[in-house]
């Protein structure tokens, strides 16, 4: 089903459309290059194995993966661009458009649903100005109008014993109650040192 995710993501708005698009592959910092080379060394049998970890490094640095990245990584690993493109379109974690500052992934699956995760998801969506119905049926991230938050309803995060849970950026939030949500969002806003344009 990751194919659907790709479909929706490529059709979403690219904020760079109006300007000359800057190619990610033209802006690779030395630190990223070094990490990429270290990664390849971990796969002495086949450097193709490094494609997933390189995509992770890339997305962590640039926020998403553009066409130049696909060509650049393919070339680096002696592959065809399709060999990288088919990974970006299959794996739900990879995206081809920029996310907002904070990424909120609320668990949707049964144990969390039993503990009220649909309510948690709705509350998050309302608080950041996104239609929860739209977001629940969207594959991939949806960005809030203020640009501070992306949200996604995701499958089991393997913390069902402390349900309901969500993953925000790298951190897990557990045993959530609807009252936690304003506090969490406030903290995230302060962390990203930015006042949102819309409440």
């Amino acid at each position: 089903m990751a194919q659907i995710s790709n479909h929706t993501e490529t059709t979403s708005q690219n904020p760079n459309n109006s300007q000359t698009p800057s190619r990610q592959a033209d802006n690779i910092p030395a630190s990223l290059l070094q990490q990429i080379n270290e990664t390849i060394a971990r796969y002495p049998v086949s450097k193709r194995s490094a494609s997933l970890p390189i995509l992770h490094l890339w997305q962590n640095h640039f926020g998403y993966i553009d066409d130049s990245a696909i060509e650049w990584i393919a070339h680096l690993l002696d592959l065809q661009p399709i060999n990288i493109y088919e990974l970006v379109t299959f794996y739900p974690w990879f995206r081809q458009s920029p996310p907002a500052k904070n990424i909120i992934r609320v668990c949707r699956t049964l144990s969390c649903a039993l503990a009220g995760s649909y309510e948690i998801f709705d509350k998050f969506c309302h608080a950041i100005g996104i239609d929860p119905h739209l977001a629940a049926h969207h594959d991939g991230l949806i960005n809030s109008p203020c640009g501070n938050f992306s949200i996604q309803f995701v499958e089991c995060l393997a913390s069902c014993g402390t349900a309901p849970v969500c993953l925000i950026n790298d951190d897990l939030y557990e045993k959530l109650t609807p009252n936690d949500i304003p506090k969490i969002l406030e903290k995230l806003k302060t962390n990203s040192e930015q006042t949102p344009n819309t409440p």
Binding site: R48, L87, L110
Partner: protein, 462 residues
């Protein structure tokens, strides 16, 4: 709510009297840290020292004698799996540790990876020595970003101290271990899909035969894929001795087992119990504190979301051999079924990954099935037509029924779709996605018939 590594744990500070913590012994201590100093202070890497004085074949024999079964889902005897590897075939062998933990209801490997990575690394080093492996990968789902860092740090520490890397502890045995992160796809937990993913490809599962990992595994070489928890057990088999270890469990299921309980119980959590030591009743009432106030139990999914659901009140008919060789039939109440691999198999379901999801009488089973169907529809890799189309079709039917547009033929259609997936696909996801539908519809017909004939309105959780 909390957002750091000192997460609110699903462990009680003192173990329940029925618990026996071996895998969880250290990581449940509040002051236990995932670093090497702490691990060494708790007797860490002693078993690796011991292992290096043994012959690899002696370790494989010990694992066989321990009756350890895989904790990843299929409950395959680990010693038998290891026996498929021929150390003298002149080929490269690989060990791949499955830390994808994404079967809904399962949350045990998470705590091992975050809190006790050296326990896993010691298990890997011993296993690799036994299997003539010099390169091992730990596949960790990317939704555990902290775990990937913690385990990578632990690998660096262990390497610097001579527990991994070249000439481990002065021996001639060398081993490199690396972390490989997944990218959000449930199917990567299936072992052949995981190998494709590790090779940098789309994770389409490989067909068996011929692509058994032990024959054509990573890079087409003989490979052992084991779950994180399974590998952790290895050092305890050496520590306790295979006989002592086996004795904790049952002849068909040695050692301890972690059971992760979530859903409608008073005390959800991860519990480590001697395998086959408790009945479902003891688990739900004694250990997990029974149902929420004013509620009664309705259903239990015993081994991760793919396991067939059990209906509270159902009777299981088991056949046993009498001393004179004749067969006798016994009716067992489902609550009295023992929670181990063979007894749950006899009850028509499975211990799977040990993820127990409990539903009480406030829940509608159509609603619950629809939740799982949406999961499977999202996670099918799309390779096989019955699975790709069927999983989506089942989700569409249950969603439509929930929206009040059910038709009388829906339960039958659901069963017919499910029956045409299982057994007709490349990987066991086909079974995994059809078993919930088959068992929910068969065991809770009233919830489905109600929605199939007249629209229902109150279907929200909680």
């Amino acid at each position: 709510m909390s957002a750091n590594n000192s997460f609110p744990t699903p462990f009680s500070p003192t173990p329940h009297p029925l618990e026996r913590r071996i895998i969880f012994a250290n990581l449940t201590k509040p002051d236990y840290k995932p670093d090497l100093i702490t691990y060494l202070a708790h007797g860490g890497y002693n078993e690796l020292r011991k292992a290096l004085t043994l012959k690899p074949s002696e370790i494989v024999a010990a694992v066989k004698a321990s009756n350890l079964r895989g904790r990843g889902g299929a409950a395959f005897p680990t010693g038998v799996k290891w026996g498929f590897i021929n150390p003298n075939d002149g080929k490269s062998h690989y060990l791949v540790v499955n830390g994808d933990e994404s079967e809904p209801g399962t949350f045990k490997d998470r705590y091992i990876l975050h809190r006790d990575p050296h326990q896993l690394l010691e298990g890997i080093a011993i296993s690799a020595y036994a299997l003539d492996v010099h390169l091992a990968y730990i596949y960790i789902r990317c939704e555990f970003p902290h775990a990937a860092r913690i385990v990578s740090n632990a690998i660096a520490e262990a390497r610097a101290a001579g527990f991994l890397g070249p000439n481990i502890l002065g021996s001639s045995f060398s081993l490199d271990v690396f972390v490989h992160q997944g990218a959000g796809a449930y199917i990567c937990g299936e072992e052949t899909s995981l190998l494709e993913s590790l090779e940098g490809k789309r994770p389409y599962p490989r067909i068996k035969p011929p692509y058994f990992p032990a024959v054509y595994g990573l890079y087409m070489q003989p490979t052992v894929v084991n779950n994180v928890e399974t590998i952790c057990h290895i050092k305890h088999i050496l520590r306790l001795g295979p006989e002592e270890y086996a004795k904790m469990g049952t002849p068909g299921d040695g050692g301890t087992r972690t059971l992760c309980v979530s859903g409608d119980v008073q005390k959800p959590g991860a519990y480590e119990l001697p395998a086959g030591s408790v009945t479902l009743r003891q688990l739900l009432y004694d250990i997990c504190g029974g149902p929420r106030p004013g509620r009664t139990f309705k259903a239990v999914i015993p081994g991760g979301s793919s396991a067939k659901v059990l209906r509270i009140g159902e009777k299981i008919i088991t056949k046993s051999k009498n001393s004179d060789g004749s067969l006798s039939e016994k009716q067992t109440d489902i609550l009295d079924v023992i929670m181990d691999a063979s007894n749950l198999a006899a009850a028509g379901t499975m211990i799977g990954s040990g993820g127990v999801i409990v539903l009480d009488d406030s829940r509608n089973m159509l609603w619950a099935l629809n939740n799982l169907n949406l999961f499977y529809a999202h996670e099918s890799c799309g390779q096989c037509t019955p699975c790709r189309e069927g999983s989506l079709w089942m989700a569409k039917i249950t969603s439509r029924m929930l929206s009040g547009k059910g038709v009388p033929s829906d339960p039958r259609t659901l069963l017919s779709v499910a029956n045409n997936i299982a057994g007709r696909t490349i990987c066991a996801f086909g079974e995994a996605c059809s078993w919930p539908t088959q068992s929910f519809v068969e065991k809770f017909p009233e919830d489905f018939e109600a929605a199939a004939s007249n629209p229902i309105t109150t279907l929200t959780a909680a």
